[in-house]
């Protein structure tokens, strides 16, 4: 029996069959129910099939680990994508974390060659801040066992005005309880959403599934041999754009200090990593000279704050900034690939020296 009834004839037949049982409806007004009643068996079969297929999908694709082991991404700049790639690199000895300055300036393969310190993975992602960097590091450490974690500390990380914001990025790396601990508990709708997402993975992991679809298009898949390193193609280094971007980056900033809320988060992360027996280093990311022209005093104060933070916890600093000029940058904060390779080699050298010291 078909569940589709198209003709008025069929509807009329339904009305006739179910007429006696429809006591509440107005005359000639039966809605869709007669159709449902006469096709109850077929509808039941359809619903059963639907349910079985959804359960099979959940078990076979998501719960079996198939999705985790096969998911590909086209854009590794956001945390969930980065975590998906990282899941296939559990043997990394060195973990690099931070914001996009880390993601675009360190090629783990080149660093590993220079420092002879084993495989690495770049877990930096766009627009990260100390809170999300902390959360990402903790998530990565659930399946990675690095000997060294290199944290990129951008000037904004020690900004006195920076504070935790519960945004989409934060929700990708932080559990509801972690968000609540940061003072941003989920409301009822968000809690329902999170619960449903944990039960039904096609919903919970929808952004990653869509990312996978994007990666299926020819030439779109991210090359995972780059181990998390990524720089967006093209350049945005005309003078007007550099100045405009720098102005935007340094608008509404506070005063950099080693006691800034973000600095405290990094301090706590360092302590926790050390408690786990993992060595820690800070990386000072290179910035375009325009940034220094537009916000020189601010960057100098940030430098002092970062050094103070590093000194207080005896964290070694990796600083390769001196060897880069304007032509090495894609934009205000990100290196072009050739410069990133040089930067990575320099970082590797510094790490080798650190190991010998």
């Amino acid at each position: 029996m078909s569940v589709n009834v198209r003709t008025a004839e069929a509807t009329a037949r339904g009305v006739a069959v179910a007429g006696d049982r429809v006591a509440t409806a107005d005359a000639g007004d039966l809605g869709p129910w007669p159709i449902f009643r006469i096709h109850a068996r077929a509808i039941g079969m359809a619903l059963g099939t639907c349910l079985v297929m959804l359960i099979c999908l959940e078990l076979a694709v998501f719960r079996s680990g198939f999705f985790d082991s096969h998911v590909a991404v086209s854009d590794p700049q956001w945390p969930a994508a980065k975590l998906a790639i990282a899941a296939r690199q559990p043997n990394a000895n060195v973990l690099y974390v931070g914001d996009s300055t880390m993601m675009t300036s360190v090629l783990p393969t080149i660093v590993s060659r220079s420092c002879d310190c084993g495989p690495g993975f770049n877990g930096g992602f766009s627009a990260s801040n100390p809170w999300t960097t902390d959360a990402m590091t903790r998530r990565l450490l659930t399946f990675m066992h690095p000997k060294l974690v290199v944290i990129s500390v951008s000037p904004w990380a020690v900004d006195g005005a920076a504070k935790f914001e519960s945004n989409e990025l934060a929700r990708q790396v932080m559990s509801p309880s972690e968000l609540a601990a940061r003072g941003a508990p989920l409301d009822l709708a968000e809690s329902i959403d999170a619960t449903l997402g944990s039960l039904w993975s096609a919903y919970g992991q929808r952004e990653l599934v869509k990312e996978w679809f994007s990666a299926l298009a020819p030439g779109q898949r991210y090359d995972e041999s780059l181990l998390g390193y990524y720089v967006a193609p093209g350049s945005a280094n005309s003078y007007a754009r550099l100045v405009a971007t720098a102005d935007r980056l340094f608008a509404d900033v506070g005063t950099p200090t080693a006691d800034a809320p973000g600095a405290n988060v990094i301090r706590s992360l360092v302590d926790d990593l050390r408690a786990r027996g993992i060595a820690v280093a800070f990386l000072l990311p290179p910035l375009h000279p325009t940034a220094y022209e537009e916000a020189g005093p601010y960057l100098e104060r940030a430098d002092v704050a970062i050094r103070q933070l590093a000194g207080e916890r005896a964290v070694p600093l990796i600083d390769c900034r001196a060897s880069f000029s304007a032509s090495d940058f894609r934009d205000v904060t990100h290196l072009v690939e050739a410069a990133a390779e040089r930067h990575s080699a320099c970082v590797g050298e510094r790490m080798r020296t650190m190991a010998h010291d």
Binding site: N4, T11, D29, G31, P32, M45, A46, K210, Q220, A244
Partner: protein, 470 residues
């Protein structure tokens, strides 16, 4: 509540079951409850305000229908009330900021305007235009809706309350009489429209959005390459079409599930062969509203050439400002007003018989015109729009804002859309959906596919429909 949200996925079936499980005489009440739940899920105070506006306009309509003297004054007063509400929420801060800014510039003063900074009620522009249509048509002799419930459903109908299409009560209210009839074909068409709308929004519109943002950000930062500027505006043209027509599809599909037919809003707009043809195809319910309630009252095209051009200009500046309280929206409208005025002038001075060559030439002019005008629509201010337009004129600076693959994706999407439309000319809007007969197992499999697609379609972050802001 977004159409592509989990909340709507839960809300719609509940509303549907409640609606059809209720006797026909009470179904309008169910629809009203559903409509207010839908609106109040965003803001309860504003839902109360919308109720107040509905009551006021119902009373206005009855009063206007009964009045025998001073009808014109009454109409003006009633419309003024509606426009005042819209003005306070949407235009007050804009007006005051503009006036104060001009005064400060002229006098060298530093006056601070007392801004209200109110949140714009969702759909207020659509509500207001429907109320004005209702009052004006009663003034012109149509009979007012005496059933408060029917008027209420017309005004607050949840599928169209946030972003249209702008309905006409002459078509909508009579259809309420046949609300007891469940139309299987219409319901199936509704499901198809909802699926198509979600696919447009999620698979196409949302995919294009990041590239549009990159391009607009580059223009706001002061530099964008020529190719990047054109691709950005092409991407935006596609995004806004897929987003808004996707929304309209879902609105029409949702309405169809409850037995309501809502008019189409788009008719292959990017095949338009002239500027005027474009507005016959794009956001049809708005453009016909503007025609009937602004352009015609101003005199339409039955005036001198200069007056017609003036009428077009005023109509489209209003259209621009309807989209947003900012001068760049007014500029968008003004560009179209001037363009349509010049087109009218040319057609009068050099009348040409319709031909294929004229159509092709018209299309080749209309589309670049539209893309350039979109720079004023999408960019946040005149500076950014100026950078974008200069870049489109060949004065671009730099390159690489958009990757080659992004550019190719945008161009391929545009080509695919045009080819699809071109291949189905004349059938696209008229064709009814015909689906093959499926057995229960196949239906169950299809239903599971729909659940998966709906799950994937749910928004993350700020994937709101573009036209909600208007």
């Amino acid at each position: 509540m977004l159409f592509n949200s989990l909340a709507y996925l839960i809300f719609l079936p509940i509303a549907w079951v409640a609606f059809w499980a209720t006797p026909a005489r009470r179904r309008l009440d169910v629809m009203l409850v559903a409509s207010y739940v839908f609106y109040a899920s965003w803001s309860i105070p504003y839902a109360v305000m919308i109720f107040g506006l509905v009551v006021a306009n119902y009373v206005f309509g009855i009063a206007l229908g009964r009045a025998t003297t001073r009808r014109r004054a009454l109409l003006a007063a009633f419309i003024a009330v509606d426009l005042a509400v819209l003005g306070i929420f949407k235009y007050y801060d804009f007006f005051l900021t503009s006036v104060t800014g001009a005064a400060n510039a002229a006098l060298g003063a530093d006056l601070q305007p007392p801004l209200l900074t109110l949140v714009l009620p969702l759909g207020i522009s659509f509500f207001t235009f429907e109320f004005i249509h209702y009052l004006v048509d009663i003034y012109h002799g149509d009979v007012a809706v005496h059933s408060f419930t029917k008027f209420h459903v017309f005004a607050a109908f949840f599928p169209t309350q946030i972003a249209g299409p702008i309905k006409r009560f002459q078509q909508f209210v009579p259809s309420l009489a046949s609300i007891g009839q469940f139309d299987t074909v219409l319901a199936r068409e509704g499901l198809w429209l909802i699926g198509r709308g979600l696919a447009k929004k999620v698979l196409l519109g949302d995919r294009l959005a990041p590239w549009v943002m990159d391009g607009v950000r580059a223009a706001s930062d002061g530099a964008i390459g020529t190719t990047d500027a054109w691709v950005t505006m092409l991407a935006f043209a596609l995004q806004v079409y897929f987003d808004f027509s996707g929304y309209t599809d879902i609105a029409r599909g949702s309405a169809a599930l409850f037995g309501f037919r809502i008019p189409i809003n788009f008719d292959m707009p990017y095949l338009a062969t002239s500027l005027s043809d474009f507005w016959r195809r794009w956001h049809i319910s708005l453009s016909t509203w503007l025609r009937d309630y602004i352009y015609f009252p101003l005199g339409g095209s039955r005036r001198s050439m200069l007056m017609v051009m003036r009428n077009l200009f005023i109509t489209f500046v209003v259209a621009g400002l309807w989209h947003g309280a900012a001068w760049h929206y007014a500029a968008f409208g003004a560009i179209w007003g001037v363009g349509l005025g010049l087109q009218h002038l040319l057609r009068t001075l050099i009348p040409l018989p319709p031909s294929r060559a004229l159509s092709v030439g018209g299309w080749l002019f209309t589309m670049p015109f539209y893309l350039v005008s979109l720079a004023f629509f999408r960019c946040p201010d005149f500076d950014a729009a100026g950078v974008m337009v200069r870049a489109m004129a060949g004065q671009g600076v730099g390159a690489g804002t958009l990757s080659l693959r992004a550019s190719l994706f945008v161009i391929a999407t545009a080509a695919a859309l045009l080819l699809t439309w071109f291949a189905s000319r004349g059938e696209w809007t008229a064709r009814r959906v015909t689906m093959p007969r499926l057995g229960p197992i196949a239906v169950g499999a299809a239903a599971s596919a729909v659940v998966v697609i709906a799950s994937l379609a749910a928004p993350a972050g700020s994937d709101a429909f573009f036209y909600f802001q208007f």
